[in-house]
Symmetry: C2
Subunit: 501 residues, 2 copies
């Protein structure tokens, strides 16, 4: 490695400190900040983001990147490649486009909140039109800089290395198989006795203690992170200080518990990133798909499995002081509650079987929007058609249709597919892990996550961004990412009722 | 005003955002941060501080300051003057001296923690020697840049505009009067029946509710701030988001309550700064002395007054569910508990009568150290002599002597006098306020702080740094800062037992 590379490492370490600061300030904004300071905080965050952008796009940085030689070490080489990718993304956009995007999405997000409430797509259309126009310019500018199509360039912002040509065949397979599979699962479910609801209330202090207990069980390091409460659960904070949140309802503890498990999956990834590289681009998570695979690994693959439910049932009864023999609190019923399938209109409420359908619809639509093949006035009808064809439901209003998500109003195009890819990746990784190490499944049945986490550390977490998502999945599982493992998982859990699924 | 000035306002607004970020991150460090991330956070803070220093000392900034013309508006003129002062402080020190100071004080602070525990002055001496040598260089460099003596230059870092020549006669007066006054107060106190201790425990949730109730009573805006818990109470956060902390003990509620009142005094000052100028140097608090005067105004001047105790006694009984007639909880006894005087060795535990003595000793010693008139090996004996001559106590070990405070180990010379000046200023301001507006005292007796806060807003808070501490005190009270009001206050409260003192 040469001096220019060493100098770049110092610059990027400074950028990493700014990112840490932004991470903690964003966490604070959602968890701690008094509401009267919201505008000022927004200004502060914008100024810090601006500083980061300034440092990243300074002429000196381009010179150093041109001169840099990372030498033979594969991590330093990968680090330099990531530096160049990040730099290209940042410098691809002219300053006035960045500013126009910020202003348009700020306006659009506010307009969307009102439009959603009133199911007023027509009122929102001018905002979405503006955001889409600007996002298409972003895609073109980034695409030109990266040598990619506009949609691939947008994808690359969230999931480096993932391309439309990888996704299309996978999603085509899901589109073919999913409707029949959902129907079969619903038929099987209807043939079984109905689940018994759990009766609350469930005191919040106990829910919180339960969440902390499960985080500990998963191996979360409380000396380098926190659990708190926010309106929308998330995993954020800084590289050495991973902070997750949940929200509690007294009437039902399952949403908070599953929320903590989901976010702890994200957090374990962050805490498992290589300590020596945390302040460099190569030491960051490999993108949205791998991140989501880690949260779904915990929440969906493991913690809704029969084996885990067997282990957790006594802990739940003890937490909420329920008699050991109460029928609703037996593993069988708890498992049924945790794996209930019900096609619905709202993506974020969907179970793991119907969830990908929501993504397939959005993926097609956003590709068409970026390409210019879908006039925005036709979006609601196209969205509703998609829901009807994949889930058999009629959308009664746009509030529960194409206005339900914040992503497009915020200018996030190329983000949705990662959710479904993450679900597929989680199934593929879990299947490979259980096959490669026969001790993992029995350990989970004892509530022991250590062997699974060790496998994930070795095969996923510790690789950080030294490889791309497609490379990480292939190396860990021996095959490229596909829908196979996910479809097999759904059949085993929901049709075969395999005892470990 | 010209373009250069306008450009400076933009630069300083960016610096203000960085300061806000640092303020919230420092608060988080004390209140929220998991301990395993302490080193990383220290790095992050150092890097953000470095960025701020870089922006402030960039060549462009010097050019703009040279070109700038603030025009005729007095606030813009004062703002430019403050920009120049801040810039001079920042650019006065060569980079290697700043770095040497940071490293030396980090080492010294760690060594001090151990040395204090073991009363090991000899072991700490090399560290203090290094820190003092560097601090003398800082004083000389800043002094040369500001046209001040080294000690005045150090003072100016904490209390702009305050000079040794202002302090010397005031402290000389205290040195003459204080020993006799303390003796008289103790004699008077001994002639009265002993106070009755309050019996706990005092549940922490109720102490916290009491603290919030009192903050509300003082007018603290909870939409722009918070109350939390930390090991050492402080008031920090950001310009629009003032965060104070306290700590609770179950056995005694008075320390936490007085802590909240003290920090709320600081916080009211911050919340009362002019909103339009918050992101500019002129909009900041006018320095340590005025800040301390505002905390002591609330904690000492008002909330230990007989009038306030009369009002608060029923609230305290109600909070802790004490019968109305319990003798210990009558105003008379509560007031005696809150105004108990006891010469002691530890500065931070001192009452308002003996507190200035601790400062007089440190002021003389630190002036001599900076001047080079005191060999550090002679510091313990000189410190102990001072305590003996002013408070009549023998210091049994350096842990309770010259090793008790973190200030010198941290390189804070010129900081101590502001504590005592703040106490004098609080008495002088309170006396002037009560004289100028006869409605203030009766309002306090009703628990109504609004008129007093209005007076402070007008005469102190809203002036921010548009004037220096000496100017603010003189304009608000009609006289330069002196010990008169403080001495009169002590006599009225502790000797005359005036009904409103």
């Amino acid at each position: 490695m040469n001096k220019a590379y060493q100098s770049l490492e110092r610059h990027f370490a400074r950028l990493s400190s700014l990112s840490d600061a932004l991470g903690i300030l964003c966490w604070d904004k959602e968890v701690m900040m008094p509401h009267g300071t919201a505008d000022r905080r927004a200004d502060n965050l914008a100024i810090l983001e601006g500083l980061r952008h300034e440092i990243l796009t300074a002429p000196e940085m381009a010179d150093l990147l041109a001169e840099a030689d990372a030498g033979e070490d594969p991590w330093q080489r990968a680090n330099l490649a990531e530096m160049r990718r990040v730099h290209t993304h940042a410098t691809a956009l002219p300053g006035d486009l960045v500013e126009a995007c910020t202003q348009a999405t700020t306006r659009s997000e506010m307009a969307w909140r009102e439009a959603r409430q009133n199911s007023d797509f027509a009122g929102f259309l001018p905002h979405l039109t503006e955001v889409l126009n600007l996002t298409r310019q972003v895609g073109e500018a980034k695409g030109a800089a990266l040598g990619l199509s506009p949609y691939d360039a947008l994808l690359d912002s969230f999931d480096p290395g993932t391309r439309q040509t990888d996704i299309d065949p996978i999603f085509a397979r899901l589109r073919t198989e999913l409707p029949g599979l959902i129907a079969a699962v619903l038929e099987k479910q209807a043939s079984l006795p109905a689940s018994i609801p759990l009766e609350g209330p469930f005191p919040i202090a106990r829910q919180e203690a339960l969440g902390r207990r499960l985080m500990q069980q998963l191996g979360f390091d409380m000396t380098r992170g926190r659990l708190d409460v926010s309106a929308h659960p998330f995993c954020g904070g800084a590289t050495h200080d991973v902070r997750l949140t949940t929200r509690y309802e007294e009437e039902d503890f399952i949403p908070a518990m599953m929320g903590v498990l989901h976010e702890t999956g994200h957090a374990m990834y962050e805490q498992g990133l290589p300590q020596n590289w945390l302040s460099q681009p190569v030491g960051q998570a490999a993108g949205m798909t791998v991140h989501e695979s880690q949260s779904l690994m915990v929440e969906m693959q493991v913690c809704r499995s029969r084996a885990f439910v067997e282990w957790v049932a006594p802990l739940l009864r003890q937490t909420f002081e329920v008699a050991e023999t109460t029928p609703a609190w037996q593993p069988d019923n708890l498992h049924r509650l945790l794996t209930h399938v019900q096609p619905g209109l709202i993506r974020v409420d969907a179970d793991e079987v119907t969830y990908p359908a929501h993504i397939l619809i959005r993926y097609d639509l956003e590709k068409a929007m970026i390409k210019g093949d879908l006039a925005l006035r036709d979006l609601p009808a196209a969205f509703n058609d998609g829901i009807h064809s994949l889930l058999g439901l009629s959308v009664p209003d746009d509030r529960r249709g194409c206005l339900q998500d914040i992503h497009w109003p915020e200018g996030l195009f190329g983000y949705f597919p990662c959710y479904a890819l993450g679900a597929l990746a989680s199934a593929q990784l879990r299947t490979a892990a259980y096959q490669q190490d026969a001790s993992l499944a029995p350990a989970i049945a004892q509530g022991n996550f250590a062997p699974l986490m060790q496998w994930l550390r070795t095969n996923v977490h510790s690789r950080a961004s030294s490889a791309s998502m497609p490379e990480i999945i292939r190396a860990a599982t021996g095959a490229p990412l596909s829908a196979d493992a996910y479809l097999a998982h759904v059949r085993r859990r929901y049709l075969d009722h395999a005892p470990d699924a």
